[in-house]
Symmetry: C2
Subunit: 197 residues, 2 copies
DNA sequence: ACCTGAACACCGTTCAAGT
DNA sequence: ACCTGAACACCGTTCAAGT
């Protein structure tokens, strides 16, 4: 099961790996199938066996991105202990860290508007975001957050972390202020959704 | 001062207008300088007089986008009357409307991470976003929002509306639920930032 | 099954030259 | 000052052909 030579059965995985690196370093627009093929030592037509066109590669990248995001969020959540608020803070922090390190990939993952999302990407997205909804359920179970459909307040939470990521990535706020913004926004979210006691 | 023929002194404005339409209909990736030139009946090298390269055109589009966003936000705010909460709701609504109608342009405006923002774009952005900060100041003056630096809570507000826009544009939530999400998120923001009374 | 090489229609960018 | 036309180096995509 060890990795074989790239152009002997492992080309798909190699393409994804190289593409993810390229997107991180150069952005989506600069991602070139021909350049990828060159770096992996195959002909420019070889990728077509694994990805029928450029868009198919982008979809695969988005799916892999959601999978990785999900595992990073879950790890951050579990490492933060059992208490609700630190858990939420840590998870939001992990989200923004992902978004900052892979800004172009995040754009790709949530492109959604200009190239309709594949069902398989949709599913991967919901899997990653389920961590946030679990957190909301925990908060509700502990009586910290207001009751009601978890979906409603979960959506507000998701919008909150996504908004922080967008503001940081948009260059509106300096990266050094990122932690402070996370703390403010999450504290604000909790206060706003707090159970009436 | 009336509009002269496109290829006689008005090419720059014509390029911007046509490019904005193209970005709205086809997204940024499909925007082609050669195609634009074709549609306007000039040679493919003519745009170069007004925009040294493709990126320069994108920056100009972003700047124009922020200017338009600013006027739309301000109009929505003033039309909503004097009361704080309806004003905030209306302004957030206008923001999301802009984001929905010009999703690709919004991406371009906040690209920031992968092509560093020009100072002139930065300034246009701050001008548009100043509407949000004014709203925060009004809320503070009326004692509805907590005191403290308006920048801090203004940033949280901005992250909130940007997050709503991202969630709606990302296809996570159906467009029909968009109004409900806005109402929820803004109400949540106000509760979370409410003055301790 | 997987890859190659040539071909096609497109790009952005550059530059000498025209008016 | 503003635009043209040819040229260059790159794309994504297609397809017959190789192993």
């Amino acid at each position: 099961m060890g990795p074989r030579a790239y152009h002997h059965g492992n080309l798909r995985a190699a393409l994804l790996e190289e593409a993810e690196k390229s997107v991180r370093e150069q952005g989506i627009e600069r991602l070139s199938l021909r350049e990828l093929a060159r770096q992996l030592g195959v002909s420019h037509a070889a990728p077509r066996r694994h990805f029928p066109d450029r868009q198919a590669l982008l979809y695969a990248l988005a799916e892999a991105g959601f999978t990785r995001l999900g595992t990073e969020l879950r790890r951050a959540m579990t490492r933060a202990g059992e208490e609700f608020e630190p858990r939420l803070q840590a998870t939001a922090s992990a989200y923004v860290r992902f978004a900052t390190r892979d800004a172009a990939l995040l754009d790709l993952m949530f492109a959604g508007k200009h190239n309709e999302p594949t069902p398989v990407v949709q599913e991967a997205a919901l899997g990653a975001l389920s961590v946030l909804f679990e957190l909301v359920e925990q908060g509700q179970a502990e009586g910290v957050l207001e009751q009601g459909e978890p979906g409603r307040v979960g959506l507000v939470l998701f919008a909150t972390v996504q908004g922080i990521a967008a503001v940081v990535n948009g260059g509106i706020v300096d990266a050094s202020q990122s932690d402070a913004l996370i703390a403010d926004a999450i504290a604000n979210f909790i206060r706003g959704s707090r159970a009436a006691a």
